[in-house]
């Protein structure tokens, strides 16, 4: 409380005022305008040219000549201040308005360098903010892209899974078809594969001609001979028979050691299945006879017998998981197998039904009634001696399935 009161604002000495005036106005363009009550220009002065106001005409409305005044006059308050106005390019002024008597005064006090300084700061702040905004926007885009990528990745995974499944299915299909190929003449297998018809693999019943054949004395031979000799003989035997089966377009059901089974009329339909079976049998007999002659020279006694039967069988994929075979089962198969067992070397034993069908084209000899294992009644059996008079008529199969 004892401290001295603040010095009363004594008027500043003229030298200080002069100094302040110099400091305030240094390097600043200052211009002024005075307007009368009708807002006509009364007088103007200072550095008007700096603001592009050098062509002012006193006595005329000021708003027409100084367009920045549009809307500001008459003043609604006094003094009135409009800061930092870029009046013309590169020249910024604070506008100071006041009323004196009936007259309106305007002073333009240049603040270009203050404006430039403020602008540098503001520019930095805004540039920084814009960068941050841009960064945030890019991050959002990045995040969206990442999510999209993830989704696409999932999609690819799913596709790969279904692709694997599809490949597996196709491989299985191919395997099935390849199996089929083993039983069929290649041309027919190709046809079935390209038709892609899976129905042929379904179980069905059909009237087929079945042929069984095997070697006589093979077991004894294989017990005495060297293993190489046995496999060589079998190779020759297969090499002789398989092309014949294919040539007659028979379905090779199985080939176990020296025994094999062929049937006709399935899966490829053939109207002359019985005739074909008999013709194939005759051709086989000839082929094996030629082989047997060669083997005999090497001291091996091997004979060949065939059985043929005709009748309904169940056909299709038969077996259990993982080991399906296209095969036929039924009495007709048993009968043909038993007839084959009973056949002596060079004999082609056929049932009476077969004999009736081929009577026109084949020389047959009646063997009489044979009791066959697994059948309740004895069978009338004939032996095919040969084909009649060079008969070689074979109707080749068309490319169709049942």
């Amino acid at each position: 409380m004892d401290s001295p009161p603040p010095p009363a604002s004594a008027p500043l000495p003229a030298q200080v005022l002069e100094r302040l005036r110099t400091l305030l106005l240094a390097d600043r363009a200052v211009a002024w305008l005075r307007m009368d009550e009708a807002l006509l220009l009364a007088a103007a002065g200072g550095d008007l040219g700096a603001y592009g106001l050098d062509a002012l005409e006193p006595g005329k409305p000021v708003v027409e000549q100084v367009h920045l005044l549009e809307g500001l006059l008459p003043l609604v308050e006094s003094p009135y201040f409009v800061p930092s106005v870029e009046v013309i390019k590169g020249r910024v002024a604070d506008l100071h308005f006041w009323l004196d008597g009936g007259e309106t005064w305007l002073v333009l006090l240049e603040v270009t360098s203050e404006r430039d300084m403020a602008r540098r700061l503001q520019q930095k702040a805004y540039d920084m903010t814009l960068l941050q905004e841009r960064e945030a926007a890019l991050n959002r885009q990045l995040e969206a892209a990442r999510r999209e990528l993830e989704a696409a990745h999932e999609e690819v995974k799913r596709w790969n899974r279904t692709l694997e499944e599809r490949v597996a299915a196709q491989v299985a299909e191919l395997e099935r078809m390849n199996k089929l190929k083993r039983f069929l003449a290649p041309s027919i297998a190709e046809m079935l594969m390209s038709s892609g018809d899976e129905n042929i693999l379904k179980r069905h019943r059909r009237d087929i001609a079945t042929l069984f054949c095997d070697l006589r004395g093979f077991t004894a031979f294989s017990e005495n001979a060297e293993p190489e000799e046995v496999s060589e003989l079998l190779q020759d035997y297969h090499a002789a028979l398989v092309p014949l089966i294919q040539a007659y377009e028979g379905t090779l059901d199985r080939f176990v050691g020296d025994g094999l089974m062929v049937f006709f009329n399935d899966p490829v339909p053939c109207p002359d299945s019985t005739e074909r079976a008999v013709r194939l049998a005759v051709a086989m007999r000839e082929a094996v006879a030629a082989l047997a002659a060669a083997w005999r020279k090497r001291g091996h006694q091997v004979g060949f017998g065939i059985g043929i039967a005709q009748g309904f069988a169940t056909l299709g994929q038969i077996g259990f998981e993982g080991r399906f075979d296209y095969s036929a089962i039924g009495t007709v198969v048993n009968t043909a197998a038993r007839l084959c067992e009973q056949a002596k070397d060079g004999q082609i034993l056929v049932t009476s039904r077969v004999a009736t069908v081929v009577a026109e084209m084949a020389e047959l000899a009646d063997i009489g009634m044979l009791t066959v294992k697994g059948l309740s009644r004895p069978l009338a059996v004939s032996n095919v001696l040969g084909l009649k008079g060079g008969d070689q008529k074979v109707v080749w199969l068309g490319r169709q399935t049942h």
Partner: protein, 167 residues
């Protein structure tokens, strides 16, 4: 000597939305990529012929808004109308334009104005949908998209605003 009609129009909006660029395109028919922010206000004049009348538009290009600085509404004194500008690639600037309108109307009442959604040429970053524009129009806004860079929509926006100012 008949005095040409003279009207003051203010450019308002968030910072860096293109207010200065729009004026420059309109008055000088040029565009610059460089961003030079406005401090205070820059005044330009453009004579526009509307039918048989020539109107001098006195364009007050104001400093942009950000969250910190608040508009010096005193610059609006005597304005006959105003142009709200937003940046179509920055949704926040549209919000800014909507709030500016409220503040102007609280101080000066209803004046003719137009809303320009600018930078239409930046289609890849554009976030404003036609539906957004449609909704604003439904609410009675005069709204158009524009590009100071290509000049699209610029002359029309000013001419339309001037027409409405003249009533």
């Amino acid at each position: 000597m008949t005095m040409a009609v003279q009207k003051k129009i203010c450019m308002l909006g968030g910072f860096s939305v293109g207010k200065t660029s729009l004026v420059k395109r309109y008055v000088e028919s040029v565009f610059s990529e460089t961003y030079l922010t406005t401090v205070g206000v820059k005044i330009d004049k453009k004579a526009v012929v509307l039918g048989d009348k020539t109107v001098n538009l006195i364009l007050w290009d104001l400093a942009g808004e950000d969250d910190m600085s608040s508009l010096r509404l005193s610059y609006m004194r005597g304005a006959a109308g105003y142009m709200l500008v937003a940046d179509g690639t920055r949704p926040a600037t549209l919000e800014m334009a909507l709030s500016l309108r409220k503040r102007v109307e609280a101080e000066y009442g209803q004046l003719p104005f137009a809303l320009l959604i600018n930078k239409k040429d930046l289609t890849e970053q554009w976030t404003v949908t036609d539906a957004d524009l449609g909704k604003l129009r439904g609410d009675g806004w005069w709204v158009q998209s524009s590009s100071a860079r290509t000049g699209e929509g610029v002359d029309d926006a000013f001419a339309d605003l001037a027409t409405r100012i003249l009533g």
